[in-house]
């Protein structure tokens, strides 16, 4: 039994947002909903890192725990999905999720948020695989076709990996060995290796100020 996971390598992510675009396109998500987003830490400063974030498909998903109508379920592949026919749009999953994955299509005055939408690991929803209903509500079901989520497949630097946890772990392990340690723990990995001291100016040219 596989356990599907995402992994984003901050050493490789170049904040190109291709994963975000791919996801939107593949799943035809409504306006205002972003199942995936790229977060940049220390933008423009030393130690700038980007991470592509979406639902992490937790094993003990907080969203599923707090849902008042119990609309979440975990597939055999370890993908956390939800049933939009049952969702009442209360927003509790959004409060509980550490990653900010649950999204809502409406602005929410008087708490009208609409049905929650989130990353499905390109695995659709409870409806029959690749049925039109499923596509309308949840977008693509690539997993049923034997494909991985498009965001990961599109990633040009292969920063974003998706797939069975064991396989990804293995890839990651190899990368870490090559880099010799965890990037975050050590700070900027290639600063020490660079030929000259960093320039006084900080960050990239498109720095937002």
């Amino acid at each position: 039994m596989a356990r599907m996971k995402f992994y984003c390598d901050p050493e490789r992510c170049i904040e190109c947002n291709a994963c975000v675009t791919a996801c939107k396109n593949e799943n035809e998500v409504p306006w205002g909903v972003n199942r995936r987003r790229v977060v940049t830490i220390n933008d423009g400063d030393e130690g700038e890192r980007s991470l592509s974030v979406a639902c992490m498909h937790c094993s003990d998903a907080p969203c599923a725990t707090v849902c008042p109508v119990d609309c979440f379920y975990t597939t055999q592949d370890g993908v956390v999905l939800h049933d939009k026919d049952i969702c009442i749009g209360c927003g509790y999953c959004f409060y509980a999720c550490p990653f900010g994955a649950p999204q809502f299509p409406e602005d929410g005055a008087f708490a009208t948020r609409g049905k929650m939408d989130k990353c499905t690991f390109c695995a659709g929803g409870p409806e029959a695989d690749n049925s039109s209903d499923e596509h309308r509500k949840y977008g693509s079901n690539r997993l049923a076709e034997g494909k991985l989520p498009l965001c990961a497949e599109m990633c040009s630097t292969k920063a974003l990996l998706a797939g069975d946890a064991d396989t990804i772990s293995e890839i990651y392990r190899k990368r870490v060995i090559n880099r010799s340690a965890s990037v975050m723990a050590r700070g900027v990995s290639y600063r020490d290796a660079s030929f000259r001291a960093p320039r006084n100016a900080s960050g990239k040219s498109s720095a937002k100020e």
């Binding site: 992994y7 790229v38 907080p62 008042p68 409060y95 005055a109 008087f110 392990r173």
Partner: protein, 362 residues
């Protein structure tokens, strides 16, 4: 910061607890200390299979300054990598609010049932007299039943949302329950603001009679007459009623404000605000419901003659003398006591309608 929010929650409760229902709140406060420790040890959700991302996320999490970044995706909190309080809120909701809140409400009902078995209906000792006093004007009854109906609707719909998953889903299934829950959610959100309107009306009309006075302390010390079985002198409202009024106003304000924070997620308030608001909303609501259950008990089966004032506008003179003698004596001296016949003429009771009222104020 994780600690500070816990402390904040903690303090809020201690403030209420200080002058409200001390005993009840201790139930809430105590688990909060354990809650803080528990959340630390839990850390991130334990993974059955090691997630290769776990390491990096743990790194992110340990460095608080790193949790806030920027994102091309625009939206509230979209730059936040980790919402550290989500898990605390989840623990509060699942391990404290639902079980403790549920048992508290059941406990109140059981306690009242036991009290009823023990004490029975408090009768008017002198029996009904042939005179009545005007207790509530038409307008006062109107706003009372207005806030009552809205409160009941909000309480029931809120309780369904809160306890539906453990209580109702096993009985009626997810599909049916989600319909009911959606109805409750939409109704709760739409009717919620009406409670503010009703509370303002109630506050303006009743605040003057609810200011604490001399004698209220002795009422409290004698347990409102439960201790010693003797009626304690009180004015138009007794200490218990005044306390309920202020509880309704203050806890009600907390519930209203937190409710607005929750139903208007358009002012850029982040998740931590909404989580905090939810905590305040839930604790406040459960407190209010508990107290109102007691209020309803006294009004219906607990005490003879207590509901008459709100039902008909008039209360029996003997009842008034027993329970609100300072007010009743003064009113009687001023010649405000009206004969039962006159009351039935003013209320036109000949047309057999169940509810009553009083002539309009000029």
């Amino acid at each position: 910061m994780a600690r500070s929010i816990t402390l904040q929650i903690d303090n809020r409760n201690k403030q209420h607890a200080g002058w409200l229902l001390l005993l009840l709140l201790c139930l809430f406060v105590q688990p909060f200390d354990t809650f803080a420790k528990a959340s630390e040890s839990r850390g991130i959700p334990s993974a059955v299979v090691l997630n290769p991302a776990a390491e990096i996320w743990r790194d992110v999490r340990q460095r608080e300054q790193l949790t806030n970044g920027t994102s091309q995706v625009k939206g509230v909190d979209s730059g936040v990598l980790i919402n550290a309080y989500g898990d605390q809120w989840r623990n509060f909701r699942m391990q404290q609010l639902i079980p403790i809140g549920g048992f508290l409400l059941i406990g109140v009902v059981i306690a009242l049932a036991l009290f009823y078995l023990f004490r029975g209906k408090v009768a008017i000792e002198g029996g009904e007299s042939d005179k009545k006093l005007l207790r509530y004007t038409n307008y006062e009854q109107l706003i009372h039943w207005f806030i009552a109906s809205i409160f009941l609707f909000l309480a029931i719909s809120g309780l369904i949302i809160l306890f539906g998953r453990p209580v109702l889903i096993p009985i009626i299934g997810k599909e049916v329950f989600s319909i009911i829950a959606s109805a409750c959610k939409e109704g709760h959100n739409l009717m919620g603001p009406l409670f503010l309107v009703a509370l303002i009306l109630i506050f303006i009309k009743f605040v003057r009679r609810n200011i604490y006075q001399k004698g209220d302390l002795s009422w409290l010390l004698r347990g409102g007459g439960i201790i010693g079985k003797k009626h304690v002198p009180s004015n138009f409202f007794n200490m218990g009623e005044k306390t309920m009024f202020w509880m309704l106003v203050l806890v009600g304000s907390v519930v209203i404000i937190s409710g607005f924070v929750l139903i208007f997620p358009i002012f850029g308030q982040g998740r931590e605000w909404m989580e905090l608001a939810h905590v305040g909303h839930a604790i406040g609501a459960i407190l209010m419901i508990s107290v109102i259950i007691g209020h309803i008990y006294i009004g219906t089966i607990g005490m003879e003659g207590a509901i008459e004032g709100m039902k008909t506008g008039y209360c029996d003179l003997n009842w008034a003398k027993e329970h609100h003698d300072l007010w009743a004596t003064k009113a009687e001296q001023q010649g405000e006591a009206i004969s039962n016949d006159k009351v039935s003429q003013l209320r036109e009771v000949s047309s057999a309608q169940p509810l009553g009222g009083h002539v309009q104020e000029e």
